[in-house]
């Protein structure tokens, strides 16, 4: 990228785009020295901050991070350690769509952050709910560390975004462009040909997803929402609040959160990173039982009992009221021998049986050794207790 000149010592000249690279460095330096012409009266309203000709730069210079009150307040609000410099935090707020130069955007930090976050979320979910089916595992992962969630995390931190990225923008604002076509970088194994999967010519099963695809079991470089409508370029320029802009904003916010996690890990180490994830991501809550969607719960429950050598499940009516009324209520329990696996209340007998079967399955799948389970990463701390093997399930129920 850089052309080294033997007669000149190395100079920190910013080349942020390919067009800037073509310019002579001296020329660029003089252009940057010119005051930023904003078309206003500089005598009546002297500039509040002496900016270089900042419209030329895609993102603010790192040294401006030290003068941004917004950034300092964000640093304190997240209780980030002093070891983490403001410049790094400022860099964590520059999305790839604002600045394509990897030396100035947050892609690298976000990659580190995503890896660490996903590791901690995955190990925590696995130890806490060892029997979760893989699809629910993916959904739970996404519920904790997906783009949408991290977007709301960033919003809850009070991260504000710039209307349009640029060198004159406050460093404390998240910088991304909603309208710049940027190839979204996903982390994971991409498939050779996504269209074949789409056409149904290549099978994409669960086992397959474990191998390929990203940590949420989603194809790399393939946005499910894109199928709805791809806006034309003119629409993209003048419309606000579309699916696309929302997705772009979510991606940028999520990348910023991941980059902050990454920078905490990079500057302050493993334990600080883990504590940060626990405090901001794992402390959030979701009722995992609401993630399930069963197709044929009665059959699935029968298979489960067969596999586990339980007696076959039998549905029994526990109590009822108003059978001939407008609003009958049936309470149905599912029994395996003398053990009640689950029960449910519904307005008709079939529905009650289905619900009871679902509840039985959920109570199986949502087995948990406890709230505060030990996770493997605790063993990385010096002088930790000996590891007790954690419960591992043999796998989900497969039926035809």
């Amino acid at each position: 990228m850089r052309t080294s000149r033997p007669d000149q010592p190395f100079r920190a000249v910013r080349h942020q785009s390919t067009s800037a690279l073509a310019l002579d460095s001296a020329l660029e330096a003089t252009a940057a020295d010119e005051p930023y012409d904003d078309g206003t009266d500089h005598v009546r309203f002297p500039p509040l901050e002496r900016l270089p000709n900042a419209t030329k730069l895609p993102s603010p210079l790192p040294e401006r991070a030290l003068t941004s009150a917004k950034l300092a307040a964000l640093h304190a609000r997240l209780s980030l350690p002093q070891k983490l410099p403001l410049q790094t935090l400022a860099r964590a707020l520059v999305d790839i769509s604002a600045d394509e130069n990897p030396l100035f955007n947050n892609v690298n930090l976000a990659f580190v952050g995503q890896t660490i976050t996903h590791y901690h979320v995955a190990e925590w979910l696995m130890c806490r709910y060892p029997r979760l089916p893989m699809t629910i595992m993916y959904a739970a992962m996404k519920a904790y560390a997906g783009d949408e969630t991290l977007h709301s995390v960033a919003r809850s931190w009070g991260v504000e975004s710039a209307a349009e990225p640029g060198g004159e923008v406050d460093s404390g604002l998240l910088q991304f462009s909603m309208y710049k076509p940027v190839s979204h970088i996903g982390f994971g194994y991409g498939r050779k040909d996504n269209s074949r999967v789409e056409q149904g010519r290549w099978r994409r099963g669960i086992a397959n997803r474990v191998l390929f695809d990203d940590d949420f079991g989603e194809q790399i470089g393939y946005d499910t929402r894109k199928k709805a409508q791809i806006p034309t370029s003119s629409q993209r320029t003048f419309s606000y609040g579309t699916e696309e802009t929302r997705a772009a904003a979510e991606r940028a916010h999520a990348a910023a959160v991941r980059a902050v996690v990454g920078s905490v890990y990079a500057h302050c180490g493993r334990e600080a990173g883990k504590a940060f994830i626990r405090a901001h991501i794992l402390s959030r809550t979701i009722d995992v039982s609401t993630l399930f969607e069963f197709k044929s719960p009665v059959v699935e429950l029968a298979r489960l009992c067969q596999r586990e050598d339980f007696e076959p499940p039998v549905a029994r009516l526990l109590s009822e009221t108003g059978r001939l009324s407008r609003t009958p209520v049936f309470v149905v329990g599912i029994f395996s021998g003398k053990d009640k696996l689950g029960e449910a209340v519904a307005g008709n007998l079939d529905h009650a049986r289905y619900k009871a079967a679902m509840n039985s399955l959920k109570s199986w799948y949502l087995y948990s050794p406890g709230e505060n389970v030990r996770v493997p990463s605790e063993m990385l701390v010096e002088g930790s207790k000996a590891w007790e093997p954690t419960y591992i399930d043999i796998g989900e129920i497969i039926h035809g």
Partner: protein
């Protein structure tokens, strides 16, 4: 602002091209005609009339000969109308250089830059091109050169024409320096008053207006001992008065036409002034200045030395030197809150605090979030003013809306 030349004699006025049009419209080869045109230009209303005639191609005798055809003989009706055209035709035969020499001899000595050399257009007969067709009328012809705006150029004005004020051009604002200068003014005023009261016969050519003062002189004169009498009237020892008057009269009055020197500020830093001020005892401030002569000289000297004009309304209430100083020395302007806290507070050192020295405008807010560059671009693309309304204010907009 167009400046008018201050000239002593009417001859120069006549020689100077007051109106470039009158000069340019003269026949190029004859400068004598130019003279005549100029003399006529001094008469009221003649210039516009001539100009009109020239444009209408009726001012035949003085028509600018840009054509190869010989100038047509002036017809009698125009001759009757035109006062300037009854020129002795013999004079036209005079050569240009001859008349220029005569003209130059008539000019008085001046430091004004006067346009002297004039390039002449070849006569129609001298143009070798056979296809050249002379213009019949000046209308629509391009105007080249000329003396329009000659006197708007400051380089054409001599230094003697510059305005030199009596007081110091740049007012002395420092408190200590003002007090030192006020004391110098008092010393000099006492000396001048003594001379005014004819106590002293020497130093007849005392000039009360010297303005250049060097450090040593400033210290020497302002440090003269001022004796304050019982009734408050200040006096000085006789030899001090003589020395002061000598210092004042070191410069002869300015001769006629000579350039006055510009008053120069004191060669003293505020720190030195403060030191000097502290070396004196304070009773000079109790000196009474109720004597009109003393007061007159004092105020005049203060204006000359410091540039401050003390208004009469304030002077009425002033009885002694201390009162005068309180009028003269203004207390320093109160600091703005933003300046105060940036210098004297913990606030600017905090990283989460931002202090703005001026109002944060909507444009600033847009700039901080990066939207301003988009707004600017879109406005420029549409040819609209970036800030302000550029003459299309609320009233104009209302007119558009209501359709009036």
């Amino acid at each position: 602002m167009r400046r008018l030349p201050r000239l002593g004699s009417s001859a120069t006025v006549a020689a100077l091209p007051m109106s470039s049009t009158a000069c340019l419209r003269t026949p190029a080869a004859s400068l004598f005609k130019c003279e005549i045109a100029l003399t006529s230009a001094t008469q009221p209303h003649s210039v516009p009339r001539q100009r009109h005639q020239v444009w209408a191609n009726r001012f035949q005798s003085q028509r600018r000969c840009l054509s190869s055809a010989p100038p047509p003989p002036a017809s009698t009706p125009e001759k009757a109308v035109d006062g300037a055209s009854d020129v002795d035709t013999q004079n036209i035969q005079l050569s240009a250089s001859q008349s220029r020499r005569r003209l130059r001899a008539r000019l008085p000595k001046t430091d004004l830059t006067i346009p002297r050399k004039q390039r002449t257009v070849p006569r129609p007969a001298d143009i070798p091109d056979a296809e050249y067709v002379p213009a019949e009328s000046g209308l629509g012809l391009e105007e080249v050169g000329g003396l329009e705006g000659w006197w708007d150029n400051p380089a054409h004005w001599g230094p003697s024409k510059n305005y030199v004020g009596f007081g110091l051009q740049e007012k002395v604002m420092d408190a200590a320096l003002l007090q030192v200068l006020a004391r110098k003014a008092l010393v000099e005023a006492i000396a001048l008053k003594d001379k005014f009261e004819s106590k002293i016969k020497n130093y007849r050519r005392v000039d009360p207006t010297p303005a250049e003062f060097r450090m040593a002189e400033l210290v020497r004169i302002s440090s003269k001992e001022i004796l304050v009498a019982e009734d408050g009237s200040p006096t000085m020892a006789q030899h001090d008065v003589y020395k002061t008057l000598k210092a004042l009269s070191h410069r002869l009055p300015v001769a006629e036409g000579e350039v006055l020197p510009k008053p120069v500020g004191p060669e003293m830093t505020p720190e030195e002034a403060k030191e000097l001020l502290e070396s004196w005892d304070r009773n000079w401030k109790a000196a009474s200045i109720e004597d009109p002569a003393l007061r007159f000289y004092l105020v005049k000297r203060i204006q000359r030395l410091t540039g401050h004009v003390i208004p009469d309304a304030k002077l009425v209430g002033v009885r002694h030197m201390g009162g005068l100083l309180s009028v003269l020395v203004k207390p320093p302007k109160a600091l703005k809150l933003a300046e105060l806290i940036t210098t004297k507070s913990l606030l600017p050192t905090l990283p989460n605090v931002k202090i703005y020295p001026r109002r944060v405008t909507p444009v600033d807010k847009e700039k901080m979030v990066g939207r301003w560059k988009l707004i600017q671009k879109e406005l420029q693309e549409r040819g609209l003013p970036v800030v302000g309304t550029e003459g299309y204010g609320a009233a104009v907009e209302k007119k558009w809306v209501t359709g009036n």
